[in-house]
Amino acid sequence: MKHLALTIAAVALATPAFADYPERAIEVTIPAPAGGGTDTSARKLATLLEEELGASIAILNVAGGGGSVGVTQFMMQKPTGYSLLATWNSPITTVPQVQQTAYQPDSFTPIASTSETAYTLCVKPDFPADTGEEFLAELAANPAKYTYGNDGIGGTMQLAAERIFQSREIDAIAIPFGGAGETLQNFLGGHIDIYGGSISPVLPYTENGEAKCLIVTSAAPVDALPQAAGLESLGLGAEETLLWRMVLGPAGLDPAIVDTLAAALEKTVNDPAYVEFLATKGETPNVVTGDALADRLQGEYDALSKVAKALGLNQ
């Protein structure tokens, strides 16, 4: 009798009854510290997703190594559908360029991208430039004169800026900080000339006139920063680098589960409550799923690989 029960249990485990997915709590790994941009985006989304899926979601923050510590730890999870990764693009497409990681962009099952935003470059009001074009001209005319803060050496923000600088042969000095907050603090205190980072921390300071943001790293301009030029208008549309967020699964995840999750994400990301939340952070929803998402990851990885090589950062 006992033997029979064990056999039944074993069969039940071996035959995935995915029709009822999800039947228990889902653990979501966030490879960033609690309270940051990726964390708040994922947690807010999780509250909506819990209702949509009818399962509770447990969040595990594993920070460090620019995201690679958490992603590597996540790699050990089995593709059951109950372990997911909510990350921003840097740990997947940038970090493998500069660190020896155990994963590549194709080491995961792509589920869906969720939202995106541009990085921005901002200066003090007395900086001798008022448009994106003047800003780049001033930098090009004064090699090694200006310092720009960024989120960390070889991080996506630095590569986003260097893609622009390299195409205009600009030499600006990168000062790496622990995060956008630290960069902002040093920018406001006048210790560095240029703020480089995500839009949301610096946004209030453009409104009160303490900062003027002249460039965003997206091809199109951003509504919240009317003075900042999009890269398309500078003839650099091909050099677009975004900060974007996604949900990934371990490699080999069942397509039925992927579809369930992608549909649920598509719906919750476009929920008015979430769109409004994204707007306060200067982010817009953008759901890309399946093969298109895999292509987006690989394309970005290849483009950033070129910049990293030119900077001598690549492994």
Partner: protein
Amino acid sequence: MDLIFDILGSVLAVGPVTAMIGASILGVFIGALPGLNPVMAIALLLPLTYSMQPLVALGMVAGIYNGSMYGGAIPAILLRIPGTPAAIATTYDGFPMAQRGEAARALKIACWSSAIGGVASAIALMTIGPILARATLLFGPAEYFWIAMFGMASIGVMVGSDAVKGLMAAALGLLLGTVGLDQLSGTPRFTFGEIWLLSGLDLIVILVGLYALPPVIALAEAADIKGLSASDLKLEAAKLPWSDIRAFMPTWLRSALIGISVGILPGAGGNIAAFLSYNAAKSASSDPDSFGKGNPQGVAAAECGNNADNAASMIPALTLGIPGNVIAALVLGALLIHGLQPGPQLFHQNPGLVGGFMVQMLLTSLLILAVGGAAATRVFAQVQRLPGVMLVPMILVLMAVGVYVINGRVIDLWVMFAAGIAGYVLEKVNVPLAPIVLGLILGPMAEQSVRRALLISRGDPTELLTRPLSAALALATLALILWPIVRAWRAQKA
């Protein structure tokens, strides 16, 4: 005036009041259990409040934050095990007091000191917060370098009787601090190809091992199977008469100022605030040798200093939108989720909410007196009645659970045990542990700051000394190093 009544009205509603009281009690427990810490508790609980009104969420943060800073003192005093890293300095005099049979009195002093530090800090947040926040912007990488050097110079007073051993301990801390991905070059250092080491050794994991395991081993060695009897607790001696309070006033004032100053500058935190406050109390004392042997002033200084760090650490977050520590980052994250935009206009746009949170930081500091003074002191002092044979396994399990939950990985447990055994051996050979902690925290801060400063100055080291503020901090560091020499020389002459 209307605004004040509005704020009080919304803070004193049923939801926020329940949140504050519940969270203060919870906070004391979280602080008291080694391994569990407020950062983790707030990270776990805050998302549960996203659907509630913001002042409930913020009241909970305030209660846990302030409650846990006091809670950390409880095992520090009773068992020499700091409940949170910020309570390390509390063990120095708290535990000797407990051994003298003054545990209840030490707990009472810790409770009052925590409350006073917290209140002073909350008042600073409410009154001069915006001005202080602007002042912190003057601190660039060069200034942070000197702050780290100032902190390290204070090791001189911490090294104990044998200076060489103290410096060796500091060097060990500096060495451990170099492990991980170098933030400025992106090069992994001492990681031996292990990915989990890229983020460096987790400070909490090391500190739990280093500070909690040796006392646990000592408890096990004592093989005590009886525990104290109820009459040995001397609870009636826990009264804090007015004369005592007056005697603590200068220490409280000094520690509050230190705690607030450390709090508004991102990077250091409650543990450094407590160390510096303890240090200052010892230096100012007419009998510095009595510190470390159960001087109540040591407990008062450390506990007031670490609570004074709390509200002040929220100043840059609430006034500039720049989070100075993880808890401030969590609060900003919660505000964002409630649709608020952190930044300089936050207070003007949402005075009720931001003002409400400030009032909550004040009220939860006062709640420490009710929760801690009336209840916790009596309840927790009973821990001493438990025999060691019961305490040891209980504490070990709590430590392991707490450390595992931080990153959800087993390897951290091994790091904790390794640090603990190292700490045990070092204590046996009279090597002080405090310099290890200071080196571990301040080493990376000093290294990264000085390299950033040199990047900005294009390699010109004079920038480190020629900015007015950096020059002042450098002189303060020099004075701190020279002061004991001058004092010794004077004593010799006299």
